[in-house]
């Protein structure tokens, strides 16, 4: 494997990891506040559709992004109503949201565009294009650092940088601000927050909303940056992988970065090396396809200890039985 190949694989890792990272951080806010969310997939899908649809209709990718975030927020409100206000089962609500998004996106897409549940292809100005760093071209030929700078670091869409910037930001918010302290507390022991005179409901809604915003960005990234439009079910299970990454990361921001990069990397490797021959034996493509999942299980079994979720996670806060 030569150096350039490594760079390319890492480049692909970054692209594949970005939606996972955004969704994973989204889940992190929500679950740190005690609201489990298996509806990440649905929110991303919803956002992917609405961002593409609005970007196409208005020709503005920024309006698209806003629409994606707004639509994801709508689902967040539903989740909040079900799991915070009405103290329902958070898992059921998440499952319902996934179904709702899968059905609604296609239904609306068909109603609006009559193209069988997809949006028309977005023109370039309705997409997030790559951002080229200064001197990227000039430095391309510098050995080692050149390709790292111009291939790996430069040339991604804005949302990729946003996603990566969200990691330190999330860490800072959670561990260095009043809001973060309260948010973590409400996921561990809401009664402590309540008796300290802070609104449990308010905090939890805030967390669920942040989750919605990040899922919205993730969806918009899929439909308007990586792709040029919406295709039904285009999230293809990434919300669930993000959830796995979140558990893997033990609900911590920097770990979330590593976990999603690892998933992205394993996928990139599997995509790149689909047909490996060992002597006369060709490793079946199916094996390479499932390799990331096998490795995940192996890593989980071998290196990562018990992951302890936030203690109040999944439980509605009920004062009076």
């Amino acid at each position: 494997m030569d150096f350039l190949t490594i760079i390319q694989i890492l480049d692909s890792t970054i692209r594949l990891a970005t939606p996972l990272l955004l969704a994973c951080l989204a889940g992190l806010y929500s679950e740190r506040a005690g609201i489990f969310d298996i509806g990440l997939e649905g929110k991303m899908l919803f956002a992917a559709f609405f961002s593409a649809a609005i970007a196409y209709s208005t020709g503005s990718v920024w309006l698209g992004l806003l629409a994606g975030i707004a639509s994801s927020l709508v689902l967040s409100v539903v989740h909040g109503l079900a799991s915070i206000t009405f103290r329902g089962n958070q898992l059921i609500s998440g499952v319902a949201i996934n179904f709702l998004a899968a059905g609604m996106t296609v239904l609306v897409a068909q109603d609006w565009f009559k193209q069988g549940g997809r949006t028309p292809s977005l023109p370039d100005e309705a997409r997030f294009g790559p951002i080229t760093f200064p001197f990227a071209d000039a430095l391309e030929n510098v050995p080692i650092l050149g390709p790292i700078y111009s291939e790996l670091l430069s040339g991604h869409s804005l949302l990729v940088y946003v996603a990566f910037a969200c990691v330190p930001l999330t860490w800072w918010v959670l561990f260095r601000t009043r809001f973060g302290l309260r948010l973590r507390a409400v996921g561990e022991n809401p009664a402590a927050v309540d008796t300290a005179g802070v609104s449990v409901v308010g905090l939890r809604y805030a967390a669920v909303m942040i989750c919605g915003v990040l899922c919205g960005i993730a969806g918009a990234y899929l439909a308007t940056a990586l792709q040029a439009g919406f295709v039904k079910d285009m999230t293809a299970g990434r919300g669930f992988i993000a959830l796995a990454a979140l558990i893997f990361a033990k609900w911590r921001p920097w770990y979330a970065l590593s976990a999603t990069l690892l998933f992205g990397f394993l996928q990139a490797i599997a995509l790149r090396y689909q047909n490996i021959e060992l002597g006369n034996f060709v490793i079946p493509v199916q094996f390479m396809d499932i390799l990331p999942y096998i490795l995940t299980v192996v890593i989980l079994a071998g290196f990562v200890g018990r992951a302890i979720p936030p203690r109040a996670g999944g439980e509605p806060y009920v004062k009076e039985r």
């Binding site: 009043r178 302290l181 561990e188 300290a196 009076e320």
Partner: protein, 533 residues
């Protein structure tokens, strides 16, 4: 006369069909300590939670310092100068002390300045009130006593001048309780108003100025402490005459039932908690283990009960039983004739979501008498449960009710009914009366003594010295994983036991409680070191 610090008028509160408070009125003078007593489930905690804005009353008014005050949430209570230490602490377990203190009382959006300020303030408060805690320790690594200090500090940090304490001494050792009372005294001198809920009449007599008695959601009496007696209070509370001391004949110890040699236990954090214990318990005697919480008593019970592993030798009626691996589980212990009333009835002794009848066979559910073919004989279990609940006076006597719907005392009775009625050769009992009201304590103690009188061996672990002294025929004191010594209850007293519990076998100079406290701090430091190392 000044306006009362607190005045509640006509407070009512229902939880669904349960009327927890009925038209309660009470007034508390500033600068006094006001006690509230009442049976389990009488509605004490509910009333205080309403005052603190945790629950909303269905009806009634609250006056603070003569001003009518609306308290829709805890924020309002805090701004009205009210602080509360709940029966079940409201702390975030994996946060540090400092973080818990500032939670909800931060200045500004960033944490760093708040933390710095709180650290200074905390040091100040600690000095002033002898409330020492390591501000950077995680709550989950603190003893219950220290956790309580954090709760008090939380209230003081918020400049509360009305402090509510809900059963604060239920989890404290006598020394810790003494220290707490000195702090309360101090606060009273400063003019703060304190409401103290407790089941212990001795404490009421010792420290309060006035006392109110609650029964079944209503306030039945409010009297000046100096005008009443424990006996009278107990009767007001339970509605009948109560024996305040255990009535028991001298023991007639028989054969050795349990023999423990060089028992060692290492917990899952890798800390050695029991460091080589030798102990025997004979038929027909109660051996009490005294000690400050966290000195290995829990682990001792857990290993004997089969749900933790250890090394060493245990013989039961002369037969050795395994301490780890196969055959070292609760099931095997029960077959060997060991029954166990665990320390924590809610986490261990009961499945809170199971009905009472299901709980009456918990741990014995594999016994042949409960099977019919491949199924469980639920009808037989229910009939038996009904009889047991009747005998142990569990209220309400409804076996179909889920365990979580019983009050703490009644939950404990269900566990006791299950374990004592097994008629075991050896009964392990941990904290049998924690958080239980006087009426129930009397009953529970009686049952334990009865079992002894039938010639059974009993090993009792309790942090209540009173309880140890009045029940035990022999007392062993544990400190730091060792047994410091054994005493007979009529040769010793609280003072000596207290010293032994602090690891001191000689009469020390100075204040007993202080020494105990210092010792505990040292011990904790040491343990932290071990845990980190």
């Amino acid at each position: 006369m000044t306006a009362p610090a607190i005045e509640l008028k006509g407070i009512s509160k229902a939880f669904g069909p349960v009327q927890a408070n009925k038209d309660i009125s009470i007034s508390v003078q500033p600068g006094t300590i006001h006690g509230i007593i009442g049976e389990n489930g009488a509605g004490k905690s509910t009333l205080m939670s309403i005052l603190y804005g945790f629950y909303k009353a269905d009806a009634g008014e609250i006056f603070i310092k003569g001003q009518k005050t609306l308290i829709p949430d805890s924020q309002a209570a805090i701004s009205a100068g009210i602080g509360m230490v709940f029966q079940h602490f409201k702390l975030v377990e994996n946060f540090t002390v400092l973080e818990n203190i500032i939670l909800g009382a931060e200045d500004g959006r960033l944490l760093r300045p708040s933390l710095a300020k709180a650290r200074k303030e905390l040091k100040h408060l600690a000095e002033e009130y002898e409330l020492n805690v390591d501000p950077d320790a995680l709550i989950e690594n603190l003893s219950v006593g220290h956790q309580q200090r954090v709760e008090i500090l939380k209230a003081l940090y918020r400049q509360a001048d009305i402090l509510i304490l809900d059963e604060p001494t239920g989890v404290l050792t006598p020394a810790e309780a003494d220290q707490l009372f000195r702090i309360l005294d101090r606060l009273r001198e400063e003019g703060k108003t304190i409401i103290l809920i407790t089941h212990k009449l001795r404490e009421i007599m010792e420290i309060t100025d006035t006392v109110s008695v609650m029964r079944r959601g209503q306030m039945t009496a409010t009297v000046k402490t100096s005008d009443t007696s424990p006996q009278e209070l107990a009767e007001l509370m339970v509605g009948r005459k109560v024996l305040l001391r255990v009535d028991k004949k001298p023991a007639t110890p028989g054969e050795v039932v349990l023999e423990v040699e060089n028992l060692r236990v290492i917990d899952d954090k890798g800390v050695e908690r029991v460091k080589g214990i030798d102990l025997t318990v004979r038929a027909g005697e109660i051996v009490g283990i005294a000690g400050v919480a966290g000195n290995g008593q829990s682990e001792l019970l857990e290993v004997l009960g089969g749900f933790a592993e250890g090394t060493g030798t245990i013989r039961m009626n002369g037969t050795e039983i395994p301490l780890s691996g196969l055959g070292a589980d609760g099931q095997a212990r029960r077959e060997a004739g060991i029954c166990h009333v665990p320390e924590d009835r809610q986490r261990e002794g009961l499945i809170m979501d199971y009905t009472a009848w299901e709980n009456t066979v918990f741990g014995y559910h594999r016994n042949p008498e409960y099977q019919s073919g491949i199924l469980m004989d639920n009808a037989a279990i229910q009939t038996e449960a009904e009889a047991k609940m009747e005998r142990f006076d569990v209220r309400p006597p409804d076996p179909k009710l889920a365990a979580k719907n019983f009050s703490g005392g009644n939950q404990q009775k269900i566990v006791l009914a299950r374990e004592i009625e097994r008629n075991p050769d050896l009964l392990l009992v941990g904290q049998p009366t924690r958080g239980v009201d006087i009426g129930a304590i009397e009953f529970i103690h009686q049952q334990i003594v009865n079992l002894r009188d039938q010639g059974k061996a009993i090993l009792l672990v309790s942090v209540e010295l009173d309880e140890i002294l009045s029940l035990s025929d022999r007392i062993a004191v544990m400190f730091d994983g060792h047994i410091m010594g054994e005493r007979s209850p009529d040769q010793t007293d609280e003072k000596e036991l207290g010293l032994m519990m602090a690891g001191i076998t000689q009469e020390p100079e100075g204040d007993l409680a202080k020494v105990v406290d210092q010792q505990f701090a040292l011990q904790e430091q040491e343990r932290e070191g071990e845990a980190n190392g």
